[in-house]
């Protein structure tokens, strides 16, 4: 990870930039950017790209074990989408000044971050349903909001990504419905998966933001569009009803809707766990990174061949 830059921006250019963003304008690749904007936007998009690539792994484990051919085909299509999203996002991150090779190397060496939810195991087929409905649903809240972010190349890619994520959620709901309306054993499996995923899902949006000059600046520059807590509440509003509709139990006994408000209270999760997982210290971090490394090395000859081809 690069340290936050301490560059002094030209005050005149900075003022003009701030004015443009405040007027709702969006920035294209190659335009002048404040050093801090470039750093933050690049870091955000790189982490998003990493998460797409690493996020493909838990579900990939279930392709050979999918219960029917139709499920196998749909799951393969979804995993392919996620890897495709990674490709689109690395290209956007690259326009902010770091090469794709550099970013991939950083990920493989375990020096880069990816989303907390992809550090956890997918133990049963019901985990696939939870990932497709709730993990992708959580990601949709963040990514949907960011479609109005100020960096136009990212906003354009997000439009496409959200369109495909909608398919993932619909597919997931179909798996979810099958299990929720299935045998007692299937329902128990679904409930158990939901229990294991609940804390990572609450963690997903991060700690409630501190009101800091940094957060204010990210919001003003529209690198961040909604606060962590706003996004978490939006997620709970949309997804708690799905759990209740199928007669399953929300794994947090402290969760309730505040009377007369469109807001939920929930049991404060252990935020230390999120920090630990974020530093690649989750239950599956090492194993998944090792897998990524193995294939990175195994495919080195392809990259070399492509490089020689380009040079020939």
């Amino acid at each position: 990870m690069e340290a936050r830059p301490q560059v002094q921006d030209d005050p005149e250019l900075l003022a003009r930039f701030t004015e443009r963003i405040a007027a709702g304008d969006q920035i294209e690749a190659g335009e002048w950017l404040p050093g801090e904007y470039r750093f933050e936007a690049q870091r955000l998009i790189q982490m998003h790209a990493n998460s797409e690539i690493m996020g493909a792994l838990p579900e990939r484990e279930w392709i050979p074990r999918a219960p029917t051919l139709a499920r196998k085909m749909a799951l393969t299509a979804k995993v392919q989408d996620e890897v495709g999203h990674g490709m689109l996002l690395y290209r956007v991150a690259e326009t902010l000044g770091r090469s794709r090779e550099e970013m991939i190397a950083e990920l493989v060496e375990g020096k880069a971050r990816f989303h907390n939810v992809f550090h956890y195991p997918a133990e049963t087929w019901a985990d696939v349903a939870i990932i497709q409905v709730f993990v992708d649903g959580a990601a949709m809240q963040t990514q949907g909001a960011l479609r109005s972010c100020s960096y136009a190349p990212y906003a354009r890619v997000l439009k496409r990504i959200c369109y495909e994520e909608d398919f993932h959620i619909q597919l997931g709901l179909d798996v979810w419905r099958t299990l929720a309306e299935g045998t007692p054993r299937q329902r128990a499996m679904l409930q158990d998966a939901l229990r294991r995923w609940w804390t990572p899902l609450i963690h997903f949006f991060g700690m409630p933001d501190r009101i800091s000059p940094h957060t204010e600046k990210m919001l003003a520059w529209r690198i961040k569009v909604k606060s962590n807590e706003e996004l978490r509440q939006q997620f709970l509003r949309r997804f708690v009803p799905i759990i209740l509709e199928y007669g399953l139990e929300v794994p947090d006994p402290g969760l309730r809707r505040v009377d007369g408000e469109d807001r939920y209270v929930y049991t404060e999760p252990d935020w230390e766990e999120l920090k630990r997982v974020g530093r690649n210290g989750g239950p599956k971090s090492a194993e998944r990174l090792a897998l990524r490394q193995r294939f990175y090395r195994q495919h080195a000859w392809v990259r070399e061949a492509v490089h020689l081809w380009a040079a020939a």
Partner: protein, 144 residues
Amino acid sequence: MGRGVSAEEPPKGAEPPSGGAVPGGDAPGAPGRGESWERRLDTPPDVWAVFLQARKRDPHIHVGDVHAPDAEMALIVAKENYTRRDPCVNLWVVRAGEIHSTTEDAAEMFAPATDKSYRFGGSYRKQQQIYHSGWRLSHRDEDQ
């Protein structure tokens, strides 16, 4: 894999100078006060811009970029990335560093400086309506 699609070397311009956009010249008729209004993107030479035509009567639209060592490979990667489910009848790829673009600052030159309603059919339709309704009003008595 043959090299049939393009055996050409990346042109000099595809090797961008470090930092920032490639400045363009002051073309005749360019707006502004000696400021550059044309540029090329600072893009690595292995980046290709992808243009997709959804149906025969549609124009090709830039849908994104891919990384590839040559045009044939770029078309293959573009197919995998941009035609998974939505319709497509034709793909173009072109080295992104070869695209010349107007600068974002130059957007104001597209804003109409004067009233251009005379270029639009709609404004004539509007005039006809006014004319006819005026005629109807003034001739109401004779009509009856």
